[in-house]
Each structure stands twice: as structure tokens, then as C-alpha cells.
């Protein structure tokens, strides 16, 4: 019997497999950032051991950094301390750091791909659940905890049980105004925030295949929001074209050798999955979430489920969620006033996202009482946006392009949505308090977020494109 893409990569990375033990899996690339690494470095110090393979670890500062005036010292003392500790730790242990001010600095899941560090067939981990993003290249990539960060620093390996395999096929073609973020929000709304727990997902089908690398990253990024260990997409010409020529991508003879290997990275026709789910792209409309987990999503023209449509067991959580959101069961979101718009995060802060927003808002003006934060994913995205004049388009529309970081996705820096306010956000989580204490989040695509920025309310973007 043939193998899945996942199994091909996993099997070629197993260092030791003993009955009763989890597999010791070799890790090709380990990304670290300031929030989940200090205790791991501390652990190495206590054991008196070095980082085993320094060249396979890359660091950046993203979670805590301000998105304005990055040339000044970080104001908030604890954030500053964490970022300084990352600098000190990477220096002491000999790890490459793209810190604040470095031209490669940015959100860890944005910089890996854009620098050509993320490659097909790799195993990639990071102390961040959205590491699944890198799966878009046909890599096994998943988020880990700090104890596991320490394992990887110490041994370049991680202990893991092999997850089950799920295939999600999206066939057909997307309709106008519907983008990759809508695909993933749609899938999660169908299978719930825990629908893929225990599985590693492979995305396939015409609608996935036709996506750009950036759009594929958005899909893989949110695999974790349905509980999946990770998600991946088999590499193809789109993947190879994206990688070629990037800073750390293989060159010359190494490229040819790599390409020959990458071309073997697909799921064999007779390979079996534990679960196969199939969706039709034509069924998907622009999506928006109404609740406090990413599974609570609807098409923008649909209504929030009424109490009679909710399972009895789920009613208490459902009610709690809507109470937090200040929304009524059975009501519509269309036309609901929005206070903040956040375009950014490892889900949607790449150059293509900014281009999509710029194309849409060109010649339009922001609604007066809406605050719009546009946060590029990296210094390189920021520079590219400026080169293309995207920053000028934003300014003309009344927006401002900030500096790179995780920003209002999780509000660890100053970019917090005030209590009770509604924010339409291109990020990945609408959990209670995620964007700030008592802040209320509607997850949507960059296009839908841009539309809300213009109209000041939840809008069906299809009417404007």
C-alpha cells in the first residue's frame, strides 16, 4: 500500500522508534521567539548543556514588540525584559537572531517562508501553535510547548506519537469575493473547533491547488483552530516557484537535488487516510465568526443559530459565548457596527494580503468612527508594501501601515482592543479577551475586514467587488 505525504516525511525523520515509546523525530528547523523560549534556555543552563545544533534554530522577536516607534526602547518593562532576554540567550547559546531593527525581523511564521528557510519535506517546530502555517510547503510543522522547545534545543529531536491522518478535499472553484481565509473558516465551522484533534490534515482538491503560497499558508495556519496537530499541502510548481531565489533556499546544484526530492513528496494514489472530508468551494460565501471559538462561524448573510438549533449539551457554552459577544441568538451580523479593524497576524499579514486590501480600498475612504490597524508580518513585507506604494494607498484611505509583529492578534503589546468594542480581525482566534480584556472579535478575511473598514459595519464584500 502507498504512503501519505505525511507518512513519507515522518518516516524519513524517525531516529528511534521503540514499542511503547513515542518516536524520536528529527527536526530540521526550529523557530523560537521571546515568549516561549526563556524557560527552555534556563533548563539548558540548569543541565549545563549547549544548544545541540545551533544552525538549525532561528530566533525572532514578534509577540511582544510594539508596532510603532520600533527604533525606541520598548516602553513596557516586562515586554522589554523578555525581548532583551531573547537577545542575551541567543548570544550566549550561539543562535541566529532576527531581532527588532533587523531587516529580517517579523512574525516567526511569516519570515520562515519568505526567507526560504521553510522548505518541502522538512520537519519544523516552534513554541507557537500556528507553526502549522509552514505545512503549506509540504512540511510537517507543528506547535510545541516550552518543555519541548528545550528538548529540541538540547537534542534536535522531539518525542511524538504519530497522529492519525485526515484528508480535507475542497473541490471546484471559489466564487468572487471569497478567499482562502473563508475556506478555512468554513471548514472549521463545519467540523468544529475540535473536529480534527488527534489528526494531521492534508488539504487537497482543485480549490486548494489553485491557491497561491500565501493563500495556502492562511489555510494551514488555522489547522490548529480545528484541533489538528498540523496541516499540509503537497508541494507543486507553485511551491517551487515561490521558493526559488529566496535568501536561504538551495541554489545551483543543491537546488536541482532538492527539487528532485521535493517532486517525490505527494500522497500515493493508493494511500489510505483515517478520515476523508470533502467540500465544494462553490458552497462557500464570505465567512465571519460570531462567537468565542473559531468554530462559531457563519456565512456573512446567514443568521447566528437560534437556541433551538443548538444541541442541549452545548447550550450553556453557547449562551455564555453570545453573552460575552453582546449578541442575540438567531440575529444577523450583517450591518452590525464595527469599532476596530485589525489586518495582520501570522494568518493574514503577508504581502498578498496587503495587496488585496490595497486593491480594494484604493480610491475609497475609511468610515469615520472606525480605528484601523494594518500590521505587516515582517520588515520585508513592510519594505515591499512601501516599494509598491501600498502605504500611500492606505494613507489616502485614512489607514496607517504600522511596523511588524503579532500585535492585536493576542494583545501582548499595546495594541489592545478596548473592553466591549467590536473588532473585525484577520487573525485566527476570537477567544474571550484574546484581543484585550472583554474585547469582542469577529474573524474574517482581509477582504471582508477591508470592507468593514470602509463601511464601518459588517458588510457582504461581494456587493463591493
Amino acid at each position: 500500500m502507498g504512503k501519505t505525504l505525511f507518512d513519507k516525511i515522518w518516516d524519513s525523520h524517525v531516529v528511534v522508534s521503540k514499542p511503547g515509546f513515542p518516536d524520536a523525530v528529527y527536526i530540521n528547523t526550529h523557530f523560537i521567539h521571546e515568549v516561549t523560549s526563556p524557560q527552555a534556555f534556563d533548563g539548558l543552563r540548569k543541565r549545563g548543556i549547549p544548544v545541540f545544533r545551533t544552525a538549525k534554530t532561528r530566533a525572532t522577536a514578534d509577540h511582544n514588540v510594539p508596532t510603532i516607534d520600533q527604533h525606541l526602547p520598548i516602553k513596557e518593562a516586562l515586554s522589554r525584559k523578555q525581548v532583551e532576554m531573547l537577545t542575551a540567550n541567543t548570544k550566549e547559546f550561539g543562535v541566529e537572531l532576527y531581532g527588532l531593527g533587523h531587516p529580517y525581523q517579523g512574525i516567526v511564521h511569516v519570515i520562515g517562508p519568505e526567507l526560504g528557510i521553510t522548505l518541502p519535506g522538512m520537519t519544523i517546530v516552534c513554541g507557537d501553535s500556528h507553526t502549522s502555517t509552514h505545512g503549506a510547503f509540504g512540511a510537517i510543522a507543528f506547535g510545541i510547548g516550552t518543555s519541548e522547545v528545550e528538548q529540541v534545543l538540547a537534542t534536535q529531536c522531539i518525542l511524538q506519537y504519530r497522529p492519525k491522518r485526515m484528508k480535507i478535499e475542497v473541490n471546484g472553484q471559489l466564487k468572487k469575493g471569497v478567499v482562502s481565509k473563508d475556506i478555512i473558516l468554513y471548514i472549521i465551522s463545519k467540523i468544529s473547533a475540535s473536529g480534527a484533534t488527534g489528526y494531521f490534515v492534508e488539504y487537497a482538491g482543485e480549490a486548494i491547488r489553485s491557491l497561491s503560497m500565501e493563500a495556502r499558508m492562511t489555510i494551514c495556519n488555522m489547522s490548529i483552530e480545528m484541533g489538528a496537530r498540523g496541516g499540509l499541502i503537497a508541494p507543486d510548481q507553485t511551491t517551487f516557484d515561490y521558493i526559488k531565489g529566496r535568501e536561504f533556499a538551495p541554489k545551483g546544484a543543491d537546488w536541482d537535488k532538492a527539487l528532485a526530492y521535493w517532486e517525490t513528496l505527494y500522497t500515493d494514489a493508493d494511500a489510505e487516510f483515517d478520515v476523508v472530508l470533502t467540500f465544494d468551494a462553490a458552497d462557500i460565501e464570505p465567512m465571519i465568526t460570531y462567537g468565542t471559538n473559531p468554530g462559531m462561524g457563519i456565512g456573512v448573510t446567514q443568521h447566528i443559530p437560534s437556541l433551538t438549533e443548538v444541541d442541549d449539551k452545548e447550550k450553556p457554552s453557547f449562551k455564555k459565548s453570545l453573552e460575552y459577544m453582546g449578541l442575540e441568538p438567531g440575529s444577523e451580523l450583517l450591518g452590525k457596527k464595527v469599532d476596530y479593524v485589525f489586518i495582520g497576524s501570522c494568518t493574514n499579514s503577508r504581502i498578498e494580503d496587503l495587496r488585496m486590501v490595497a486593491d480594494f480600498v484604493k480610491g475609497k475612504k475609511k468610515a469615520e468612527d472606525v480605528v484601523v490597524w494594518i500590521v505587516p508580518g515582517s520588515k520585508q513585507v513592510e519594505a515591499q508594501a512601501k516599494e509598491e506604494g501600498i502605504d500611500k494607498i492606505f494613507e489616502a484611505a485614512g489607514f496607517h501601515l504600522r511596523q511588524p509583529g503579532c500585535s492585536a492578534c493576542l494583545g501582548m503589546n499595546e495594541d489592545k482592543v478596548p473592553a466591549g468594542m467590536y473588532c473585525i480581525s484577520t487573525s485566527n482566534r476570537n477567544f474571550e479577551g484574546r484581543q484585550g480584556p472583554n474585547a469582542r472579535t469577529f474573524l474574517a478575511s482581509p477582504l471582508s475586514a477591508a470592507a468593514a473598514a470602509i463601511t464601518g459595519k459588517v458588510t457582504d464584500v461581494r456587493e463591493l467587488v
Binding site: V35, G121, G411
Partner: protein, 199 residues
């Protein structure tokens, strides 16, 4: 935090909410510490305290009737962020066991790596536990890791739970993953040497 786990008899704190994510367990703004200590203070911070930092009376951790070393929660506990701080907060607060009908993968690993035992039970058994505590907040649960059994002491109802044998041994004996991985150094180096295409 204890570095082993074998057996426990304790009352439990029930939170019958589903999809409790790690942002609720420990909000992001409390992730700025650089050690593993002190996170218990901010466990369920925004459910426990209002914006003036006053305890919210209706939240169960603020109700002195409910206490113990076992946390019982609705399905899909620990979803969301990979922050191990969630496990540190739960352990630092004093919980040694978390019971749910379903755990998010990363949280489960993080808990085990901190010698906190996540026990997955059926939806039916979870309901029985919630009912037992509702009937009597002093109801005790007995956890025996060696036997892999969980018992509601008052009713004698018992269920066996799964745990992988490696992690079970780690918990009982206080081993950790890094000790094991460090012992594989020769194998790791020969794996590296054998790879024709090692990125």
C-alpha cells in the same frame, strides 16, 4: 510542582464549560514572566477577577465550597495556543489532575511534561462526576495511575483511563523526556550522518 504522580484522593473543582482555551486559562498579557513560577495567581484571570481586580463572586474558584487538587472541565479543554504557561498555571494553583471528555493535543503534552495528569473520560462519566459534585461539593475522586482507574468515591462508580505506557512510567518515576532524548545521542548523530539530504 511535584515531579511524580502515582495516586490521589481529592475533592474537585468543576467547570462545566466546553472549549476552554488556553487564553482563558492564562491570558496572553500574563505570559511575560521568564520563569515557570507564579502563574497560578493568574489562572483563569479574567473569569476570576473583574476589571478592578475584584474577585467575581459567581466564578467557582472564588467559591470556598469548591476546592481540591482535581479540575473537572467540559470537552476540548486546553484548545488554542501552545503556551505551556497554561499547564504551569494549573500546576502552580495546586491542581494535579485535570479531567475532561476531550483534551487538545498540545495541552495534553504540556500537562504531562509538568507531571499533571490529564484524564480523558466518556461524556457519560464526566456527567456523573459533575452530578456527584453538584450533589455534594465534598465528593471525593480517587485516581490510581498504576491501575489507570478513576473512581467517584461516594458512589463507587469507576472508569479506567488510557495513558501511553512511556508517559505513565515518566509520571510514576519522575523521568523526563530530555533525559531519554539525551541518552539517544549516538543514534541522533548516526541519523544525521545517514541523511543524504539534511537541510
Amino acid at each position: 510542582m511535584s515531579k511524580t504522580f502515582q495516586h490521589l484522593v481529592s475533592t474537585a473543582v468543576p467547570i462545566a464549560i466546553e472549549n476552554i482555551d488556553t487564553d482563558q486559562i492564562i491570558p496572553a498579557r500574563f505570559l511575560k514572566a521568564t520563569t515557570r513560577d507564579g502563574f497560578g495567581e493568574n489562572l483563569f484571570r479574567d473569569w476570576r477577577f473583574d476589571t478592578n481586580n475584584e474577585p467575581k463572586k459567581d466564578f467557582i474558584l472564588n467559591n470556598p465550597i469548591y476546592k481540591g487538587e482535581v479540575l473537572v472541565a467540559g470537552k476540548n479543554f486546553g484548545c488554542g495556543s501552545s503556551r505551556e504557561h497554561a499547564a504551569w498555571a494549573i500546576g502552580d494553583y495546586g491542581f494535579k489532575v485535570v479531567i475532561s471528555s476531550f483534551f487538545a493535543d498540545i495541552f495534553k503534552n504540556n500537562a504531562l511534561n509538568n507531571f499533571i495528569l490529564p484524564i480523558t473520560v466518556t461524556d457519560e462519566f464526566l456527567d456523573k462526576i459533575f452530578k456527584a459534585i453538584e450533589t455534594d461539593p465534598a465528593a471525593q475522586l480517587e485516581v490510581d495511575l498504576e491501575k489507570q482507574s478513576l473512581k467517584i468515591v461516594a458512589t463507587g462508580e469507576e472508569i479506567s483511563f488510557d495513558i501511553n505506557p512511556y508517559k505513565k512510567a515518566c509520571l510514576i518515576n519522575g523521568y523526563d523526556d530530555i533525559d531519554y532524548l539525551l541518552s539517544l545521542r549516538k543514534e541522533i548523530e548516526s541519523y544525521e550522518a545517514s541523511r543524504e539530504f539534511n537541510f
